[in-house]
Symmetry: C2
Subunit: 107 residues, 2 copies
């Protein structure tokens, strides 16, 4: 069950919907700004301005990218007054990100 083989389609093409989700998700991880945001959220819940200040990115850019990540359900938020605290929302994808970072470090 856990060999290095594609579960659904051994020797067949990936179905279109899966392909779409896969590429969309990887696309999300294919941008430095989004990776930096996710890496930060991996460590702790952050408000939008906190992210912007920590990473030295403009607030609107952070907000746009958070929306992007939210659409893919990679992040979520809770409200506290006017402040929105964002956190990651997909353990599996975060684990994949971690793996890739480790992989890149050791190469």
């Amino acid at each position: 069950m856990e060999e290095l083989e594609f579960e659904n389609s051994p020797s067949k093409e990936i179905d279109e919907e899966t392909l779409f989700i896969v590429t969309q998700t990887f696309k999300a991880l294919g941008d430095p700004t989004r990776v930096r945001i996710l890496h930060l959220l991996f460590q702790k819940e952050c408000s939008v301005n906190e992210i912007a200040d920590t990473l030295d990115i403009r607030q609107s850019t952070v907000s746009h990218q958070l929306r992007f990540l939210k659409n893919l359900r990679l992040v979520k938020y809770r409200r506290a007054g006017t402040t929105l605290y964002y956190s990651h929302d997909d353990e599996h994808v975060m684990l994949i990100l971690k793996q890739m970072i480790d992989h890149a470090c050791h190469s």
Copy 2:
């Protein structure tokens, strides 16, 4: 050593070079054509025309994308006469691709 925590930089930013490699690699996986090619190469070694025919993509497109993947050392090839047989060249990244496909299937 294998907890869900970023090895090099707990509570720090990813270094620029690592970030570059990570995002480049994810970018490679963020395109349907390249994912289809890699998925095919996961199953077996293929010539360029074989890939083009199997996936119904133009030869030049395949060649361009293979160069892209080769630059990132995600694929390699061996020559047999005029034919080049491509195969995948990064077990770890292929495993990550498999994980994401499984993840997408089950979501």
